[in-house]
């Protein structure tokens, strides 16, 4: 096959790749979007059935597109998310090459050679927008589980009907784990949830969606070069939120109320017995304190902006209820637990990226999405890339605007070192 040539190859046809495509089109930069499946492939094929976005419908302001329906406060289910992104690709006429799997990215003279299952592309600049959640993270101790236990990770789990009758242990209590625990318990399986670090959050606060507050008060716009510890900020688990029609809060107390049992962080397996950390009380205390600080920030902002008369009065949730002596062990061989589900996070897959850009932990070294070890290469659509909202449908647009400006300057031969992006300002 002949090698095709373009100025910019965007890898990934999700919200990040499409937002970048729109920004490149505005700048008349010739490009192509390579997508291994169809637009929104991860949403289409790799998520559980009941998932709805954690952000409300209105909060999906992409460059040149946004929500136009009559339910701005609702939360998109997967078919709606896919339809939204399909329509976005259409509206912006994104040059998507579907069913094109990238197998290698290498340097090639002053640019890059992209190898795919549909032939090669040569380009001067490349945007890595293949997503932050390609592989389910599963801790090494999973290998020590007794053979009679069924295991699923967060990409294999679809719905409770997959599960053998009987007890289920969900490991992880962020948005994914708490949603699994909730629907599996309601489907009649006794659920135990293993709780490590997590961030508790009310769905609705003072009558408005928590995401509305975080957006309005500027929490989501906080920049990567302003936070105290960006490495830690990028590793923070997702808020314990769920998108339901009733706008319900799904915290550990809500799970406790329907009978889910809380245990500490999964710490080890010894002789068929699961061991849990004795730190559950502190994990919950830290999460309660963290939530308190977020709500304090919101209350302060509301007062300063004269909203106190307009919205409900401040309130606080009850502290997380932890039983006096939570169990530290669980027999995995007596049939009580039939299935273990790992909801222990996700990681990106860069197995095809043959560039010298990785740190010792396999993460891409970058400065707000600019790969300094690979000039002309950019990263987009991962947690806290440039802002707290970077991984959100609503947040990737500002990052795409910033990075497309940098990319254009790089193509023009300007010194990218002089490049300064002002916070959140879109080019006219």
């Amino acid at each position: 096959m002949t090698v095709r040539t373009t100025t910019t190859v965007v890898i990934g046809g999700g919200q990040a790749g499409l937002a970048m495509s729109r920004c490149l089109s505005e700048r008349a930069i010739d490009h192509v979007v390579l997508e291994r499946g169809e637009v929104a492939n991860s949403w289409r094929t790799e998520r559980w059935d009941s998932l709805r976005l954690l952000t409300p419908n209105w909060q999906s302001r992409l460059p040149g597109y946004g929500y136009q329906g009559d339910d701005p406060d609702g939360y998109r289910n997967m078919p709606e998310t896919i339809a939204f992104l399909d329509r976005y690709a259409e509206v912006i006429s994104a040059p998507v090459e579907a069913h094109t799997t990238v197998t290698a990215v290498r340097t090639d003279g002053a640019g890059y050679l992209i190898t795919t299952n549909q032939g090669d592309w040569r380009c001067r600049t490349v945007v890595l927008a293949s997503g932050a959640c390609n592989i389910a993270r599963v801790p090494a101790l999973s290998e020590a589980l007794p053979a009679e236990i069924d295991t699923l990770d967060s990409m294999q789990y679809r719905n409770p009907e997959q599960l053998a009758p009987g007890g289920v242990m969900v490991v992880g209590a962020s948005a994914t784990g708490t949603q699994f625990a909730d629907e599996i318990q309601r489907a009649g399986h006794p659920v135990t949830i293993s709780v490590g670090e997590h961030i508790r959050a009310p769905r609705v606060y003072r009558g408005r969606d928590l995401e509305w507050w975080m957006d309005a008060a500027g929490v989501l716009d906080e920049r990567y070069d302003e936070v105290e510890d960006i490495v830690r900020a990028r590793k923070l688990p997702s808020l314990q939120l769920t998108g339901t029609t009733g706008r319900t809060t799904l915290d550990l107390n809500a799970l406790g109320a329907i009978g889910v049992k809380l245990i500490g962080r999964f710490a080890g397996i010894n002789d068929g017995k699961a061991q849990f950390s004795g730190s559950l009380r502190n994990q919950c205390a830290m999460s309660d304190l963290k939530m308190g600080r977020l709500l304090d920030t919101i209350d302060e902002w509301a007062s300063e902006n004269g909203l106190d008369g307009e919205v409900d009065a401040p309130s606080r949730l009850e502290p997380t209820v932890v039983e006096k002596s939570p169990p530290l062990g669980l027999n995995l061989k007596n049939g009580e637990i039939k299935t273990v589900i790992w909801a222990t996070g996700y990681r990106p897959d860069y197995s095809w990226l043959e560039l010298p850009v990785f740190d010792r932990k396999g993460r891409i070294r970058h400065d707000g999405g600019i790969l300094e070890d690979a000039p002309g290469a950019y990263l987009l659509g991962i947690q806290f890339l440039r802002r707290r909202k970077s991984a959100l449908l609503d947040g990737v647009g500002d990052d795409a605007r910033d990075l497309s400006a940098h990319l254009a300057a790089y193509l023009d031969g300007q010194d990218p070192g002089e490049f300064v992006v002002t916070s959140g300002v879109a080019p006219a």
Partner: protein, 186 residues
Amino acid sequence: MAESESTANNGVNVEALLGARVALADAPEAAKFTWSASCEWKDGTFSQSTVEGYFGLGENHKHKTTFKFDADHPAVFASEDRGATPVEYVLVGLASCLTAGIAAVAQNRDIQLRSVTSTLEDGMDIQGILGMDSDIRNGFDGIKVSYKIDADASQKDIEALVAQSQKRSAVYDIVTNPTNVTVEVN
């Protein structure tokens, strides 16, 4: 830290600790420490342990002084009470680790401490160590730590200090999580 003027002084060199974090990020091997102690049986349940050297930052180090710890059991165990019991040393380790952490975190958050005191209690059913009931564990059935802290900070900020100290404490981790122990006879 650099951009904010620090006013609190708890006697913790936070700059050095933060500097070490930056330096060790580029040289993770140097972060590997080995702590050691030696122990000698004296008589009855009385033993004496010694702590003098440790390994870290790629080399061996010596404490300024050699520290000795006497351990024994009290009269109700038909012993002579020549030192604290081993389980009390565990409480000592936990208390001092959490307390050091509180001072360091307070310094980093620019909180002036005036006094930090704590009491620790563990529950233990000695039917376990006496081999009377295999359903009862040898060790603690729980540890309760109570802090009294006087500091220039709100109650919430003090709670957050104590929570963060637990999150970063080595001894807290050792007592709350399982650890492989290998005992050899040479």
